[in-house]
Symmetry: C2
Subunit: 126 residues, 2 copies
């Protein structure tokens, strides 16, 4: 078992093309040898955004603080604390901070996104 | 894409043996056809607890509100808002609300957990 506060985890800049003012903390991932999926915490600075992109794996997102929008293609969905976002595989998406404070959210991805093994059993819908 | 507030999702009682004052919302799961893992939000009432048990899959947990402890076997780790807990597969664990308000947390599990057996240890319900 591992227990710690998310702010105790190192925060690093996201250097992906199209990312503006984004940083990430890897809360549960390779370091913990998590077998199936990873928990990351993103922070988007005022005026910043994540890349507008798509990929063949899903996101499961929970908004912790701040205000913004998530784009589903060109459709904007407003975001506030406590909102849940499920981004399906291959959906074009982008998170934008439209508020006056940092936008903080959890974003979980399957290990397949990381190049790692996925140990989900075939009968469970993988 | 699916976007909604977690409190808009139906909250149902957890009827597992050993669960006291526990309820759950399935935020992302079978209904969304999520291919790899599920996001649930648990609420443990004042004085309540989850079962003390173990199972062959992991938990990735983020504490949203309240105060409590998580047991790693018989070792208590205090919990507060913003804490992250990684419960490894086959670890005996239990979440207890030791505060004066509901303990709310996210708990994510791989899809393999949803069709599998859960082995409840003799300590369950103590």
């Amino acid at each position: 078992m591992k227990v710690n506060h998310f702010e105790a985890v190192e925060q690093v800049s996201v250097d992906m093309e199209g990312a503006v003012g984004c940083s990430v903390r890897w809360l549960v991932g390779e370091q913990e040898d998590a077998p199936n999926f990873a928990m990351r915490q993103f922070e988007v600075a005022v005026g910043g955004n994540t890349p507008k992109h798509t990929h063949p794996y899903e996101h499961e997102v929970f908004v912790l603080e701040g205000e913004g929008v998530v784009l589903e293609g060109n459709i904007e969905h407003p975001l506030k604390r406590g909102d849940v976002v499920y981004v399906r595989p291959d959906e074009i998406h982008q998170f934008r901070n439209t508020g006056g404070t940092p936008l903080k959210f959890l974003c979980l991805v399957p290990n397949s996104a990381l190049g790692g093994n996925v140990t989900v059993t075939p009968e469970c819908g993988n």
